[in-house]
């Protein structure tokens, strides 16, 4: 809502400054988004009354005047204007003031020997245009008042955001009512309507209008129409145009402008038809299937039978409560009119507007709820303004419906107020506030809700009314007492683990990113499936249209994005939800990482290498270890690998043992080169990646059992071994076998070199590993160690491997 100070003053008698009003509005819950005071520069000018005028002793054209600034003391001003006269109200530029558009400061001066303490200003001098031949003859104001507070000078424009519940404040009058209740002035009575309409308002017609809504008359519970003839639809007067411009509306023609003014002032939408363009009578009815409506906004709509229309014999003239029709609109030639002021069902208006995607001032008011008692006022005031501005006379009046409903009566309770707000009330304070807002005290605790407050239906609503008028500042700050939850902590524990995981991954060199949960269908197809249930019905764009089956596509986009900035070495991870088309669509928590480029920063100490699938594996397992999960409970293999992973350089991680058998926890590896090609990435460079399903990881039934700490007290020896083995064979199972040669003596086995190339058959790789040997019971003899090594070698040989060197 945009309105000006002078508009507000049509309905509110107040001396408050625009700043005070803006502050109060926000405190009342009518949030001021902006307040511009275009009239601010007039604030230092004063309204004065000219009390004495006498000719200047030394100049023919000058007069010496005495002006009253409201304090009864006459100030001497020399004035050259021919129109200065005793008793007139004039605008004084006092000493020290700068004239608009100039930089010269007013000084006390001797004009031909006579002292002058300021200047009486012409319109031109005030920057208001005009010829400047005489001083401004003010038609209002009191001596001493700031010129800036005068209508026409005060140009404060408020922009207020109205919450959806406050339909009554979609009109300036409602805002004035709240301000009055808040103590910033007195609300004026509603303006008087047209006496002719007031006199004949009960007339029920049937000449030009009929209502045919079958079994749902509630779709349009009240419809009033008034015919007028001999109107002249010209340009609106300046005051009306000025108000509409403030509101951000283009003045169109007097008839349209008047209805807009009433809508903006009283939240009472109306519509005016050109009666001569209506063929036969008007019927309020439901639209026919696919009926065409050509609207005022120049668009054509196809209607459905749940929409209320006002139609003549040939076509739809208006979409009930939303928008008028193109063909029956008023033009400058319009002479006879039909003014509609009606109520429509808010839900139906909402549905229709939503379906047809029409947003209009009328819709926004009617769907929030228009005062059901306002139709007669709207019509009557409308007719009065039309008569004043466009002339004409009433030819007929017809009314339908309008059965008055019993007003809502609620019971006020001071105690509940205190209990909910923590604020105490003085005797009768609550009732008094409610009365200021237009609520009617019926005696005792009974409070009748006014017709325009459709949002108030409970005691809690009354409590809000009272506390917002009292001010939220009055609510004391209280501390919550201690509280021990009876809930299980498991969700909190799970949450803590998620955050811990992020820290672990960041420690391992990966950067955390967050990407959108919806991706391009092409990406979803590559990393999962394109089940219809993944699709958004109303996506912003195809790139953001499908719920992701994996975090990887978003992360790969991050690689590409950074590559365009010249950052080619990127390790990133994300934790978020992924989605599966089950039971509608379900989501699971996932964490994934992608790594491309150099695995370590360019460094003078040694060579850098590129990320590979083992870097991904390392991150995945590091993270799993952080969940206190025993790695020995996990198994990896190459079976059931998803299609987007390289079939040879990737692994599946799953739970071991009865309880977890077959439970896929996730994957690590290299992206399949075909996927890199299909995504048309900027580089063919391999991308290492991992993705772990955190929901499943959390359900894994293999928590680490620490056991007791018993380090060996005896020396540790190491022995190195080197073997040749098939290049296409995994080393892992061999290491497991070696450990099993003597579990009590072999502490660990670590591969420290793998070589392929010169001097070695191309189908082979040379593997060197070190074995740590120690006993819990004694210092091992050379003989025992040699014996163990022989057994290790023979295990290797059984595997068909050659001892090398």
């Amino acid at each position: 809502m945009r309105f000006s100070m002078s508009w507000l003053k049509l309905f509110l008698t107040t001396t408050a400054t625009p700043e005070a009003i803006a502050e109060k509005l926000t405190d009342l819950g009518l949030e001021v988004e902006s307040m511009v005071d275009e009239g601010k520069e007039y604030a230092p000018f004063k309204v004065v009354r000219v009390m004495e005028v006498s000719p200047h002793p030394d100049a023919d054209k000058l007069n010496v005047c005495g002006v009253d600034q409201g304090d009864g003391v006459l100030l001497q001003i020399v004035c050259g204007a021919p129109n200065v006269r005793v008793g007139m109200l004039a605008a004084l530029a006092p000493v020290g003031v700068t004239l608009p558009g100039s930089t010269i400061k007013m000084k006390a001066a001797h004009i031909r020997g006579v002292e002058s303490f300021g200047m009486l200003c012409s319109a031109k001098e005030l920057g208001l245009g005009g010829d400047g031949s005489g001083i401004l003859d003010l038609d209002g104001g009191t001596p001493g008042q700031s010129l800036g507070d005068l209508d026409g000078f005060s140009k404060s424009v408020f922009e207020v955001s109205i919450t959806p519940n406050r339909a009554d404040c979609m009109g300036v009058y409602g805002i004035a009512r709240d301000l009055a209740a808040g103590g910033l002035g007195v609300l004026k009575d509603l303006p008087v309507g047209d006496s002719e309409i007031e006199a004949m308002h009960t007339k029920v017609g049937g000449l030009r209008v009929s209502v045919d809504l079958g079994l749902t008359p509630s779709a349009c519970p009240e419809f009033r129409a008034c015919g007028m003839s001999d109107v002249r639809n010209g340009e609106s007067p300046e005051w009306l145009k000025a108000f509409l411009e403030v509101a951000g509306l283009e003045p169109i023609s007097a008839l349209v402008d008047i209805t807009n003014f009433i809508s903006l002032s009283f939240a009472r939408p109306m519509h005016v038809y050109d009666l001569d363009k209506i063929k036969g009578g008007l019927t309020v009815r439901f639209a026919a299937e696919n009926e065409i409506f050509s609207a005022l906004n120049g668009k054509t709509y196809q209607l459905t039978p749940d929409m209320v229309v006002i139609a003549d014999e040939d076509s739809v003239c208006s979409l009930g409560g939303i928008m008028g029709g193109m063909d029956s609109r008023c033009t400058s030639e319009t002479q006879s009119i039909l003014i509609e002021c009606a109520l429509f069902d808010a839900t139906l208006i909402g549905k229709t507007g939503q379906k047809l995607k029409i947003i209009s001032d009328a819709r926004s008011r009617l769907e929030r709820g228009v005062d059901p008692q306002s139709t007669l006022f709207g019509l009557s005031y409308g007719v009065r303004l039309i008569k004043e501005i466009c002339g004409g006379s009433v030819s007929f009046l017809e009314s339908y419906g309008g059965v008055s409903r019993a007003p809502l009566v609620l019971s006020w309770d001071d105690e509940v107020f205190v209990q909910k707000t923590g604020v105490s009330l003085q005797e009768g304070e609550g009732l008094s506030i409610l009365k200021r807002l237009g609520f009617i005290h019926k005696g005792g605790r009974e409070i009748e809700v006014p017709s325009w407050r459709l949002d108030v239906s409970l005691l809690e609503d009354l409590i809000e009314e009272v506390i917002r008028i009292k001010g939220y500042d009055s609510i004391p700050l209280k501390e919550l007492g201690s509280f021990s939850t009876r809930e299980s902590r498991s969700e909190g524990e799970a949450q803590r683990k998620l955050f811990h995981t992020k820290h672990v991954l960041a420690h391992s060199g990966l950067n955390e990113v967050i990407t959108y949960a919806f991706i391009h269908p092409k990406e979803a197809a590559l990393f999962g499936d394109l089940d219809e249930r993944r699709y958004l019905d109303n996506p912003l764009s195809p790139e953001l249209s499908v719920m992701r089956p994996s975090l990887l596509p978003g992360l790969i986009k991050v690689l590409e994005k950074n590559n365009t900035h010249g950052i080619g070495d990127v390790g990133v991870f994300e934790m978020g939800s992924i989605f599966f088309p089950r039971e509608g669509i379900t989501e699971e928590k996932s964490v994934a990482g992608v790594l491309r480029g150099m695995a370590n920063p360019l460094n003078w100490r040694g060579p850098s290498r590129n990320y590979d699938f083992l870097d991904a594996k390392e991150r995945a397992f590091k993270m799993i270890r952080a969940w206190d999960i025993d790695e020995r409970a996990l198994e990896i293999d190459r079976s059931e690998l998803p299609s987007w992973l390289h079939p040879k350089e990737s692994g599946r991680i799953y739970g071991k043992g009865e309880k977890n058998r077959g439970k896929n926890l996730g994957y690590f590896g290299t992206l399949h080169p075909q996927v890199i090609q299909a995504l048309d990435l900027s580089k063919r460079e391999p991308i290492a990646c991992f993705e772990i399903n955190l929901d499943r990881l959390g359900r894994l039934r293999n928590k680490k059992d620490g056991g007791s700490f018993c380090p060996s007290a005896f020396p540790k020896v190491t022995r190195d071994f080197s073997f040749l083995m098939n290049a296409h064979k995994d080393i892992g199972p061999l290491l497991e076998k070696i450990k099993k040669v003597d579990g009590s003596l072999i502490e660990k086995v670590i591969v420290f070199d793998i070589y392929q190339g010169k001097n070695i058959d191309s189908s082979k790789k040379a593997v060197a590993f070190r074995v740590w040997i120690s006993s819990m019971e004694k210092t091992l003899t050379d003989h025992e160690i040699t014996d163990l090594c022989t057994r290790i070698s023979s295990v290797c040989e059984q595997e068909g491997l050659l001892l090398r060197a």
């Binding site: 209280k478 501390e479 919550l480 009876r486 669509i585 460094n603």
Partner: protein
């Protein structure tokens, strides 16, 4: 010093046929002091105390002396031994010190070089915000609850007192899915537009009293410098006896003061409307503009940071909680906005673009232990 050494052993012998011990000590002292390396000193030590050393030999010669002589000369030899040993030790200390000094003088470590051999990962600023929130509310008895991002219309709207065709339903620019609610034929599922859905889930499954906190992604169909189709919210709910708006105001004031780490932060509560609260409020924090940048503090301008209010009785009823004897408050806030205010970011979009330059500027280092330590969460 006069030593009488009467035994043969390659030592000089006086005219009277006596070993002049003092001369021996003097000579050996010279050769010890002449050593300028530890190695040379070791050679001298061996020549004195080694198996064939001068002193060793002299000691051996004592055996042939008369008991009286033995007594006198033995003492003299022992005295010489002590003197020489002390001299050797002293010289060794001097030499090893000068060796270290020499090595140190020769060395050069280029302290201007860097040796980053592993990449350093940064965490997203939103993570930091979430941790701070969990830390604050966790230590105040709130327990954590999570809810799904894909929701039913009932949980997102109806139960929150937004029945069909409520204007607020349209104002939220909801993303609908093609997937259908399995429990309601023909009704599409949606992406939750706020985390208030978690209130409903909590209240339908638990009985009061409770304090709960939830964090998560929410979605609205909007995209510009201050709106992204996905963003994050925090949701809090307290249902207890004797909980009123004062407690709401208290905890949010404490939270904002803590979060922005500013005891003088200006905080304003003003009436507002949410279908699921009554009375409802919005909370603003004061700021001023300095060269176009937001600086928190003062009350020159106000910026909305969160919405809250007493839970609407209809919402309680919808969750089968009797509003006659239960009341409480709820609050929700956008985590991006909090993060932007705290971190001084002006554009929301980079939060979801993964630009590592942005992350390296606004992100934060991993800690060995995440913030949410001691709380009850």
């Amino acid at each position: 010093m006069s030593l009488g050494l009467g035994c043969p052993g390659g030592v000089r012998i006086s005219k009277e046929g006596q070993i002049v011990a003092s001369q021996l000590v003097t000579d050996l002292t010279k050769s010890i002091e002449a050593c300028d390396t530890i190695e040379a000193l070791e050679g001298v030590r061996v020549s004195i105390f080694g198996k064939k050393g001068i002193l060793t030999e002299s000691m051996k010669g004592l055996a042939q002396c008369s008991p009286d002589e033995k007594k006198v000369r033995g003492k003299e030899l022992n005295d010489s031994k002590e003197i020489l040993e002390a001299l050797l030790l002293e010289r060794r200390a001097v030499l090893s010190l000068s060796k270290i000094q020499e090595e140190v003088a020769k060395a050069w470590g280029d302290i201007t070089l860097d040796s980053q051999e592993v990449w350093e990962g940064k965490l997203h600023p939103l993570t930091r915000t979430q941790e701070r929130i969990l830390e604050f509310f966790g230590s105040r008895g709130f327990h954590f609850a999570q809810g799904p991002q894909i929701e039913t219309q009932d949980n997102n709207f109806t139960f929150l007192n937004m029945p069909d065709h409520h204007p607020a339903r349209q104002s939220q620019d909801t993303f609908y899915l093609k997937a259908i609610n399995p429990d309601k034929s023909n009704e599409p599922l949606l992406l939750r537009t706020h985390t208030s859905t978690v209130q409903i889930r909590q209240m339908q499954h638990q009985k009061p009293p409770f304090r709960l906190l939830s964090l998560g992604s929410v979605f609205r169909s909007d995209y510009d410098a201050t709106h992204t189709p996905m963003f994050h919210q925090l949701e809090g709910l307290v249902i207890e006896k004797h909980i009123d708006m004062g407690h709401l105001k208290g905890i949010l004031t404490d939270f904002l003061t803590y979060f922005f780490d500013d005891k003088n932060l200006k905080i304003r509560f003003r009436p507002s409307y949410f279908p699921f609260t009554e009375p409802g409020a919005e909370v603003d924090i004061g700021y001023s503009l300095h060269e176009g940048k937001v600086r928190l503090g003062g009350d020159e301008k106000w910026l909305e940071v969160l919405g809250c209010g007493m839970v609407h009785p209809n919402v309680l009823k919808n969750c089968a909680i009797n509003p006659e004897n239960n009341q409480g408050f709820a609050f929700g806030m956008g985590l991006e906005r909090l993060t932007m205010l705290k971190g001084g970011m002006s554009d929301l979009r980079p939060f979801f673009e993964g630009d590592l330059r942005w992350l390296s500027h606004y992100g934060y280092m991993a800690m060995f232990k995440p913030l949410l330590g001691q709380g009850d969460i």
